[in-house]
C-alpha cells in the first residue's frame, strides 16, 4: 500500500485494563498491518504486564484482549521486545508471558515465539534504529 517503508516502533509502557492505552495501541498495530511497514513492538516499564498469560477479565466485565497479542504474528509484526529490567523488577520471567508465533507465508519460515527479552543497551539500540516511535 505504500512505497515508503519505515521502521515503526510501538512503545508500550502502561499496564492493561487500568487504562485503555494498551488496547487502543494494539488497534493501531492491527490496522497498521495493511501498510507493510517494518513493525516492532517494545514493552517497557508497566507495559510488560500487557503480555502476561492467564488474563481473566470476567470479574471486571472488560473485553479480554490478551488473545490478540498471540495473533500479532499474523499482522506483519516480526519483532516483539520486552525489557529485561522491567520484567525482573516486576517479579516476572519470560515464562509468565504469552508466546507469539510467527510464520512467513512466502518462505515458510516459522518461529515458535517472537517475544524476545532484551537488555537496556539493546532497548536503546532499537529506539535508535527506528524511524518512527509511537507512544500511547
Amino acid at each position: 500500500m505504500s512505497e515508503v517503508v519505515k521502521k515503526f516502533l510501538y512503545v508500550n509502557r502502561k499496564a492493561p485494563y487500568g487504562t485503555i492505552y494498551a488496547w487502543e495501541s494494539l488497534e493501531v498495530v492491527l490496522i497498521g498491518a495493511a501498510f507493510d511497514q517494518e513493525v516492532s513492538l517494545m514493552f517497557l516499564d508497566d507495559g510488560v504486564f500487557q503480555l502476561t498469560k492467564g488474563q481473566d477479565t470476567t470479574g471486571i466485565g472488560m473485553k479480554n484482549f490478551s488473545p490478540t497479542y498471540r495473533s500479532l504474528g499474523d499482522y506483519e509484526v516480526k519483532n516483539i521486545y520486552v525489557d529485561r529490567n522491567s520484567l525482573e523488577s516486576r517479579g516476572l520471567t519470560q515464562d509468565d508471558l504469552v508466546k507469539v508465533a510467527w510464520e512467513d507465508w512466502e518462505s515458510g519460515e516459522e518461529k515458535e515465539d517472537i517475544v524476545e527479552v532484551v537488555d537496556s543497551a539493546r532497548v536503546t539500540e532499537l529506539m535508535d534504529e527506528s524511524d518512527v516511535i509511537f507512544s500511547f
Binding site: 509502557r13 516499564d45 537496556s120 536503546t124 529506539m127 535508535d128 518512527v132 516511535i133 500511547f136
Partner: protein
C-alpha cells in the same frame, strides 16, 4: 540517530523521566514540558539524575510551562536550557525523531 525525548510528567508522579534518562542515547536531547518541568528545578530529589544526564545529553525545559507553575531561570539547574515553543519545534526538526515518554 539523535532523538528528541519529551517528558511531560513530574518525576515525583511517574517514572517517565527515570526511564527516559535510562534509555536515552548520548547526543540526544530531552525536553521537559507540562508537569515534566519540575525535574528542571534545583534542590529536588531528582536533581542528581538530571545533572548526571547533562554529562551526555542536552536537557531543555519549556519556559511557558515553567512560568505557568511559578518558576523561572534562576530556579533551574545549571546547564538545563529554558526554551520556548519555537525552539521546541526546532528541536523536533533537528533531531531525527521525537519520542514522547508519557
Amino acid at each position: 540517530m539523535s532523538i528528541l525525548h519529551t517528558v511531560n510528567k513530574s518525576p515525583f508522579e511517574r517514572n517517565s523521566l527515570e526511564s527516559c534518562l535510562k534509555f536515552a542515547q548520548g547526543g540526544s536531547s530531552v525536553l521537559l514540558i507540562e508537569d515534566g518541568i519540575y525535574a528542571a528545578l534545583k534542590g529536588t530529589s531528582a536533581e542528581g539524575q538530571v545533572k548526571a544526564a547533562l554529562d551526555n545529553l542536552s536537557v531543555y525545559v519549556l519556559g511557558p510551562d515553567l512560568a505557568a507553575r511559578g518558576f523561572h531561570q534562576e530556579r533551574v539547574i545549571e546547564g538545563v536550557e529554558v526554551v520556548d515553543y519555537a525552539a521546541f519545534v526546532d528541536l523536533a526538526a533537528e533531531n531525527d525523531k521525537v519520542h514522547a515518554w508519557l
